[in-house]
Symmetry: C2
Subunit: 317 residues, 2 copies
């Protein structure tokens, strides 16, 4: 088997080193590591495959990158890569798929349960040493809507079944429509959200989904509904969400992704009651899982088989 | 259909009134309500069925209670009723079963996820407006042990499957042994706990289970294991647990039940780091669910059919 020359890029040199070792352990020897622009420039000539995170894309339409055939992103979302026109069309772009469902669905259910069972009231009672045997809600019988029914959304649906929830879904392609009780298409957002107790966004960011969650849609939701975003920050019009929360509409909002990351220190989200902020951590690209995915793809690549996670740049994911 | 005379007893007169109305709505007319000892004394003569919570049991072996045939408790645990010898043997005692699985399993998974995903670190980061994208654990692949495989334990097992956990179980009767990957009997506690990441207690309190979780057993658990008790407080030797936690053994403990409830203000549990205290609220006896259960049993009673939740006083539950 002829092994292609591989370049691993990540701004953190410790992470890039760990990736390199991990890939080498699978028997691939021609792996080089870069964590700066200078190193990338030096190592690009002769590179055929890039496994990258925050790679300096502007290098890819220059002569030093003429041997690059395939770019594997370390993440699931590739909106930034697609938006950058310096990534040549003839380089195959792949993203991680099927690796985040477990993690992200656990994150989602942690918050669904924390909100439904009122974990913060339990915590407060403990701090105050108060015996406070209140009756909480149950997820059972509630309606959750999952926007995006790819590998992440499908895993959320599966767990929602175990909690005896009614499950609605919205997806562009309709591929996994059969998993949900009621399926809505991309032109039925208002219809989709109006009966939900919980709306979960797992969508990719595309021209069609950017700020799809705006004031009109938020106000079409039940006043007591909850929103969880584990997709991309820009799915939501953040200013609208701040306004709507401050007006008392929506019971709780959980945000793991933001228009600008890290979330600026002075952003209103940090301090609005019932807004839960986390640091884009729901679906971590662990070195093990990404290496695993990449190495499997690498074998397909060498055999000339179709790769997993190939991005359709027109579709946007 | 001949309707028996029913007495509903609960120390809170608003609750007792709500129960009375709820039962009457099902078409049972001869329902009386008491919330004090005096009212109970007045209404007992002629009463055949009691639906009760914290009922003054000492009345039941007196002549005024001679017509009582059946006592339905509003709770799942009946250790206190069995321990009180004034409840005559010829009064059928039933407890609530099959009503708490949904609530309690949601409570359990809220804490399993909160601990595994490190929800408190997310919360702290938000308070400090710190961007902190740490990598958390996953429940998937971890081993949970459920002690007690009745209706509550079985529901925890079902949800654990959706989280792709390995599921071990310990039960006295062995009835639901087939639900779990590895089943242990009551003489195999040490064997049972040693490989667990999470131990969940859903057992009834009996002579055989009282303080079954003592220092030896706690130290037989993995140092990084977690313990959740939704059964009865006295399943655990509380002094031993305080010692073990303070020695740094065990990662987290979640306690919804205590030897003395309400938990005394000066109890060490309130303030030990990684001990989560809640106020016996994981399986609330809601008026709807208890009325429902009672009315179904009432129909069986009138038809002379076997009742649900009949307590075997020798077995202890």
């Amino acid at each position: 088997m002829i092994q292609p020359n591989i370049l691993v890029f990540h701004p953190d040199y410790l992470i890039v080193e760990a990736y390199t070792k991990s890939i080498q352990r699978y028997g691939f020897k021609s792996v080089q590591a870069a964590s700066t622009l200078e190193e990338a420039i030096k190592l690009l000539p002769g590179t055929e495959v890039i496994l990258g995170w925050k790679f300096p894309l502007e290098l890819l339409n220059q002569p030093i990158a003429s041997s690059v055939r395939w770019f594997q992103s370390m993440g699931a979302g590739v909106d930034d890569l697609i938006a950058d026109s310096s990534l040549p069309q003839d380089i195959i772009l792949t993203r991680i798929v099927n690796q985040f469902g477990t993690y992200i669905s656990e994150y989602v259910f942690m918050f669904l349960l924390y909100i439904a069972k009122n974990g913060s009231r339990m915590r407060q009672a403990q701090i105050e040493r108060q015996w406070d045997p209140f009756i909480s809600e149950s997820l059972a019988g509630k309606t959750v809507g999952v926007a995006g029914l790819g590998s992440i959304g499908s895993e959320i649906v599966r767990k929602a079944r175990a909690f005896d929830m009614n499950v609605h879904g919205l997806s562009v392609s309709g591929t996994n429509a059969s998993l949900v009780d009621d399926h809505f298409s991309a032109d039925q957002w208002n219809e989709f959200v109006k009966d939900l107790d919980y709306l979960i966004l797992t969508l990719p960011l595309t021209d069609a989904t950017r700020t799809i969650v705006n004031k009109d849609l938020l106000l079409a939701m039940k006043q007591n509904a909850c929103l969880i975003n584990v997709g991309r920050g820009a799915l939501i019009n953040e200013g609208d969400l701040v306004d709507v929360m401050q007006s008392g509409h929506l019971r709780a909002v959980v945000l793991d992704v933001f228009e600008i990351e890290p979330l600026p220190k002075d952003h209103a989200f940090w301090a609005i009651p019932n807004v839960y902020v986390s640091s884009h951590l729901s679906g971590p690209s662990t070195i093990d899982s990404v290496s695993n995915f990449f190495v499997e793809n690498l074998k397909y690549y060498i055999e000339g088989q179709p790769l997993n996670g190939v991005v359709n740049r027109e579709r946007g994911y």
